[in-house]
């Protein structure tokens, strides 16, 4: 045997991967040991036959066209495992063969010259391990993507809840109107707005007369019911753009932008009338309560929140001094009294 031929076949059989050499017509010239082992076809049965005859199924595949491109046009080609299912019936073991579980193939088809004649080499690599790893990575990555989407949805839900909680925190838990901090913020924002627009604003502090006596005489449930009823009455008739919040134990602050002191007085009187008509059922069957209010107006009674609150407190003090159940505005009313 020619030493070169012998060497060639030893080398070809030592290669980890399939090597097939075809002549210009597609006839098999070389079929290495790997092909015999993984293809289950010994060299002596393959050599001399046409590749189409050995593997008829490749005719219409990308591998088939890569081989004809190499033979007819002498252009090299590659058939990658990511784009195609394994084109050749090659198996790692008998059980895979039984279940037609082909090994994954990376195939290079290269035109060559053999003994001065045009030919082409088909080189097949088993990339099953890498391919399975890639698939697993892809699956994991898809899973992560989905988990991520779920987490995003949960996060959105949490944000919505947080907003709802923040809105609840802005409210006084007993009466449902704004709490002190938020009604003050509302007032400061309204003051800034009316000052910028040259509009008027009236603040009203509405107080439940003798709440302490109600609490002590009829029980705290009655006091709470009186507070709730006052808040509900104020809220239900609140003019557009106005805000109401609870300042402390028995006091509500109402911020009324764009209204005159006369209009506010009219509104407060209406609220007082409706409140007085409400029957409040407490533990001891207590009946009704009255409201008093102090009013002060921007800009004539003060330009800042603090100034306005000072004049309000004075007005409110006077309602008590005068025997409750009345509305007193800072300014003229006070001038009359002092």
């Amino acid at each position: 045997m020619d030493i070169n031929v012998g060497l060639r076949s030893v080398v070809l059989d030592a290669v980890t991967g399939g090597v097939i050499v075809l002549d210009a017509t597609g006839g098999v010239l070389v079929w290495n040991g790997w092909m015999a082992e993984f293809g289950g076809i010994p060299g002596e049965q393959a050599i001399g036959r046409h590749l189409d005859e050995i593997f008829p199924e490749i005719a219409a595949t990308r591998l088939g066209s890569a081989v004809s491109m190499a033979l007819s046009h002498r252009l090299a080609g590659l058939v990658s495992p990511s784009l195609h299912p394994p084109p050749l019936p090659l198996y790692r073991n008998a059980s895979d063969r039984k279940q037609d579980r082909r090994l994954w193939q990376m195939i290079h088809v290269t035109p060559i010259h053999m003994a001065g004649m045009p030919a082409c080499v088909i080189h097949i690599q088993d990339v099953t391990t890498a391919m399975l790893r890639e698939r697993r990575l892809r699956e994991q990555s898809a899973e992560l993507e989905q988990r991520n989407a779920e987490l995003q949805a949960q996060l959105q839900e949490i944000r919505t809840l947080q907003q709802e909680i923040a809105a609840m925190h802005a409210c006084d838990p007993l009466t449902g109107v704004l709490d002190r901090r938020h009604v003050e913020e509302f007032c400061l924002a309204a003051l800034a707005r009316v000052e910028a627009n040259g509009e008027s604003l009236v603040l009203a502090v509405v107080d439940i007369d003798r709440l302490k006596e109600i609490n002590e005489g009829y029980g705290h449930a009655s006091g709470d019911a009186a507070l709730k009823a006052a808040a509900a009455t104020l809220r239900s008739s609140l003019p557009q753009g106005a805000g109401v919040g609870r300042l402390g134990s028995d006091e509500f602050l109402v911020v009324l932008p764009g209204m005159s002191i006369e209009a506010v007085r009219g509104w407060v009187d209406e609220v007082r009338r409706r409140y007085a008509a409400i029957r409040v059922d407490g533990d001891a069957g207590w009946g009704s309560a009255a409201l008093s209010a102090g009013l002060s107006a921007f800009p004539q009674h003060g330009r800042t929140y603090e100034e306005l609150m000072q004049s309000l407190n004075l007005a409110l003090f006077l309602t008590r001094h005068e025997g409750y159940d009345r509305v007193i505005a800072f300014g003229e009313d006070l001038a009359e009294i002092f």
């Binding site: 990308r62 046009h73 002498r74 080609g77 590659l78 990511s82 784009l83 195609h84 391919m131 993507e145």
Partner: protein, 206 residues
Amino acid sequence: MHEVGELQRDALAEIFNIGVGRAAASLSQIVRDEVELSAPQVLFLKPEEVRARLFSSELDRLSLVSQDFNGPFDARAMLVFQEKNALVIVSHMLDGMVDPEHLSEFEQEAMCEVGNIILNACISALADLLGIAFEGSLPHYRYAERRTLDLLGEVQEQAPVILLVQVDLRIRKQSIDGHMLFLLSVTSLHALLDSIDRFLARQGIG
């Protein structure tokens, strides 16, 4: 390049459209959906003009598949897409999720095969229509950034002319544009133009 006539350019455009048409048929088979390819423009340009055309911004990264062809004229052929476009193509081809940043090794192989199909189809069309024969190497995949686009520089000595073919790929209603480049030496350019002239003469034109 002023020495290339309009007729010669038109002939090349026709041949490349036949080539990409063949490639589209092969790609459609892989995607199991219609892939359309066209080559609306063929230009002969200097390397620096090509560089300006390929990079619309400093940040662009290109995905390149290159193959060498030898025959009556030699050329390094490259299929060039913006990397983000290559990702779009591969995600259609692989029918699934692709890392939005970079192509994995397998995705690079997929892109390599897409390039191989398109370039081989064009070269075989050239060979068939011009009546010539080539030998073509296996495709290689690589990235390039603007500052490292030396692949044009590295062959600039031998390749003062680049034949640029605009490639429009349509897949599932998405349009993706890229370029095919053929780096040619002066000798190769003349050999190419001679082949075209003979082709035109056979058609009774020119």
